[in-house]
Symmetry: C2
Subunit: 612 residues, 2 copies
């Protein structure tokens, strides 16, 4: 009675064999569920050296222990697989309603394995699990299909889909849900595509067993009350993550023209108030959310509806491409969603190509006739379509990700391929923000912000400073924030509303009946972090310090304009931050967890470290 | 679209892992389902040399393709495993309502594998499959538990249970269902017991896909009409299989006092009309039956209800034990059912023990104080209880089966251990009936009658005759009758009402859309017969002609009394029948299928015969 339904659903797409199996109790004890369970399953089930696009790779779809319960933000879930984009660990979280239905259907994780011989969708109605023919849906846009499946199955089914990008194995295809929620990063949609799973439809009707219902309700009510009385609630709910745009612009961290700058001269046109007044139609929240950040928008200019843009998309498809009209960004966002592309990686790839074009490394023959200057919205729209469909030389090239594209084009373009470990950096310019740069260098999936959003800390304590305290902050955040993904919760109640972290441990205890402190939970989070680190070590030949290298731009090239004008982080400063980080983590100078660290975390046996 | 739901449900009791997998189409094509599917799965899934009471043995629970459809007698199903009684193949059929529910739940077969760490029952509600704690039910009688589970789950759930005999691993424990239907022979209940599965509860709500519904209905209606207008319908429905008792007695084939005689001086007291008038309360049929043979009875003398006795029980717990009061037989029957004992093997074991007692090989110390003379009903009741509970030296000994018991007691008692291959012979005395004797010698599970009920043929053509035609008749019956178990149908509409065999192939064709003649189906039946023969060859060291030896009594000792007084079958006559049989089957002189035969039947690859 861990407060889990205690079952894993295994769907072998090659054979059609469908299995339910009890989730091992020790795994739930040591990895809690959600992303932790995904990481454990990835380690134990996907064989070393598996081709990310081959039948050996698997997709692990895991709600967390709190998700689906009435607790603030408990509407998140995790997708884990070996990344087709990076060749290493991929774990992508997604909000919406799907996680609750999976829990109500009684599954701790859904494992997709093998490759279907034909397009299918996975139908789950509690215990009824079927692979249904999806030949008629192949080629459809994400939300067109979501609408159609809801019409066919019933509104209460929650649907996740892939778009044409996933079908065409674009390396950063996403998974879409709830008409605007994505598991975006690392190519989780690509893996769904190669498996020929066009969609997942889930309805559940079971109760989630709770060890102490009264106590759980008490804790949850308190947590909700804290959220609902938070000072920031009104502003946050009005603008969502878009609130950050102006702050980033002012602080020189808004990615602009492929991160050449941290501030955008057209920035004010894409700030939150303009966004809200010009295109937002209504607010939209995930399951259990007291502070809905989702904004459903309509662009008159393009006659399209879209959920968003939220900040990351605003940065990566807006300022980073030189686009200064919120309606153009909304359109680019809508294209990415419907086609099933990660808007962050898409923006990063196009920004790199625009810089190549402006610097004469790509001509119009190579761009397929596109005038790829920064700011050319029409060219962006066309290029997004081409990437999703792998059309033309450039579309097909960018579909492989910026690291690969730069390796092909060469001529120094690697210098402005803004990625870590092959994953395009998300929307914080890190010329002069040593914590945030370190966060990108060390994030478990590549250059993604959500493992440690340290940028405000940089601004607070001194952005250029190189101190052990900054490395410690990054590590602290890398334990707290991913822990939310483990629990199946959204971090934004804590980040934006200031909801106390002290609610989580009591809630989990009331749920499971197991007394664990917040520190115990952080210890588990550290265990998971080290396991995914070891996954990189296991899968990537020669993995080490070099893989944590920052994008050259931030350590070699001065930023242009804004408050960070002329600033960059000296390479030795970045390396010093990394050394602080390794030392505090208990990793060696090459960034490999030591035997002592693995033993301290109870991972030695799992990862196969021989006893002393 | 073979008219099958096309799924196998796999329940691993050791791990709790529950799997559904598509039934391979080629397997359904070559083995049709039901007992054919069971035989295929036994061959392919249970490793050579598996301990019947170990975790490697499996129980395959298979409805047939016609079962659950409105077709005469389509209420049968098959249980297959490696037999704990014989060490070879076991396939036991059962009537009632369960088979229909399993089909409506959409399963071609349910595989129980491994061993549960604690008592459980298997709950199946369409796709919802759960192993539920059955600790509270352990020790309960079969029908007490069936009543309780129906009260708890709902009347529409169909339940199969084991009694204490199955829990205590009596080697011939049966599986009980519908308050009086059994899968009786070979220890299928023992295998359920060792796996700690106390019961199975199934409810289904799916449709069975039919390729040509109109045609199926047409064929089924014609078949029903033929049954309902049959001359024998009234008499058959009045008496059921008990009708046979007087005929057997008159023809010297009623097993009497451990088969020492074929006629019983108290016979008329246990004939059908006495039965009907004295104790029958109502008729009771299986799913889809036009001619219900089940009789629900009440004994005032013992104040018990029981379904039965039917003929086999009447013979084996009645005349064969010297019991001449139908109410005593009903009570013995009721004890076997509630305790979960195969009444045929139970009767055979007790009859052997009674003969030992009368001949001075067992004394009252060994019988635990029982005066085990033939005809002592009270002693029989006590001994049945002791066998089921393995109480006392004799109870525990008889729980191992008559072959084992005779090997322990020795002193010539092997001569009157009436079994073939370790399975106690059912209720036809075969002193002078060469076809029926051959049928017992060669039946795929041991000395069971239902594979070839050749006794009427013996009477018709000359009971002592030794001819190739008689062997041919046995083979013909061994293909027709087991084919019914493959299809999930009862044979009694054909045997008793004379319903034409010509309805089956068109019904199966309308169901599956595949055009196969009756001869095609018999060819499949022959394939299955040879596969189970090869299973004996594979599993039993030194298997061959000696394993088809008749019980010594019928070839060495003259019968006493009745029309067969002084008669027995000369050993060389039995061997000559066997030689005819082997030759016609395409088996060598040792009874092993030749390579040519296996190739003709398309079995060479499956059983691992190397190509020429």
């Amino acid at each position: 009675m861990y407060g889990y339904a205690g079952r894993i659903l295994r769907v072998n797409l090659s054979t059609g064999v469908i299995t339910t199996e009890p989730t091992p109790e020790n795994v739930m004890r040591d990895f809690l569920g959600g992303r932790g369970l995904g990481a454990y399953l990835l380690w134990t089930e996907v064989p070393r050296g598996a081709d990310p696009l081959g039948p050996e790779n698997k997709l692990f779809i895991s709600p967390g222990p709190l998700s689906g319960l009435l607790f603030p933000g408990a509407g998140k879930m995790d997708f884990t697989c070996k990344s087709p984009l990076t060749g290493g660990y991929a774990g992508a979280s997604m909000g919406g309603m799907l996680t609750a239905e999976i829990r109500y259907a009684g599954y701790d994780s859904i494992i997709l394995e093998g490759i279907s011989p034909k397009p299918v969708y996975l139908f789950i109605d509690d215990d009824t699990v079927e692979l249904r023919d999806a030949s008629d849906y192949w080629g459809m846009g994400s939300f067109a299909l979501e609408r159609r499946l809801k019409d066919e199955l019933g509104e209460e089914f929650q649907i996740a889909t892939i778009g044409p990008a996933g079908e065409n194995l674009v390396k950063y295809a996403c998974i879409n849900h709830d008409f605007g929620r994505q598991a975006g990063r690392g190519g989780v949609g690509t893996v769904m595509g190669v498996k020929k799973v066009k969609a997942i439809a889930v309805r559940g009707s079971r109760s989630i067993p709770i060890a102490d219902v009264d106590e759980f309700v008490r804790v949850a009510k308190e947590a909700y009350r804290a959220c609902k009385t938070a000072d920031m609630l009104e502003e946050w709910t009005r603008y969502g993550t878009m609130m950050v745009t102006s702050w980033c612009d002012e602080n020189g961290t808004l990615p602009t023209r492929n991160f050449q700058s941290g501030s955008f001269e057209l920035g004010p046109n894409i700030y939150a108030p303009v966004f809200r007044e010009k295109i937002v139609v209504t607010d939209k929240g995930c399951f259990g959310c007291p502070s809905p950040c989702g904004k459903y928008s309509y662009s008159r200019k393009h006659a399209i509806y879209v959920e968003g843009p939220e900040y990351e998309t605003n940065g990566m498809l807006g300022s980073d491409l030189g686009l200064g009209d919120i309606e153009d960004i909304a359109k680019a966002n809508q294209l990415c969603d419907e086609l099933g592309l990660d808007s962050i990686s898409t923006g990063g790839c196009i920004a790199w190509a625009m810089e190549c074009y402006e610097k004469g490394l790509l001509n119009q023959e190579q761009t397929g006739g596109l005038d790829l200057r920064f700011g050319n919205a029409e060219a962006v729209f066309v290029l997004i379509e081409r990437i999703a469909r792998r059309e033309g030389w450039l579309g097909n090239l960018l579909a492989e990700g910026v690291k690969h594209a730069a390796a092909v084009v060469g001529q120094g373009s690697e210098k402005w391929a803004i990625h870590v470990k092959g994953m395009e950096q998300s929307a914080y310019a890190t010329h002069d923000a040593t914590s945030m740069l370190l966060a990108y260098m060390t994030a478990d999936v590549g250059a993604h912000h959500n493992r440690a959003w340290a940028i405000t800390y940089d601004i607070a304590v001194g952005r250029s400073r190189v101190t052990p305290e900054k490395a410690a902050k990054v590590i602290e955040l890398q334990h707290i924030r991913p822990l939310m993904d483990v629990l199946g919760c959204c971090r934004l109640q804590w980040v934006e509303l200031g909801m106390s972290l002290e609610y989580y441990a009591p809630a989990l205890k009331a749920l499971t009946g197991i007394d664990r402190s917040w520190e115990d939970l952080l210890h588990i989070s550290e265990r998971i972090w080290n396991l995914t680190r070891m996954y990189w070590v296991r899968e990537v030949e020669g993995f080490g310090r070099n893989w944590d290298a920052p994008p050259p731009r931030f350590v070699e090239e001065p930023a242009v304009g804004g408050v960070t004008d002329g600033k960059f982080t000296p390479p030795e400063a970045a390396q010093q931050m990394l050394s602080y980080y390794y030392e505090q983590r208990g990793w060696d100078e090459n960034g490999i967890p030591t035997r002592e660290t693995l033993e301290r975390l109870g991972l030695a046996e799992l990862v196969g470290v021989s006893p002393r």
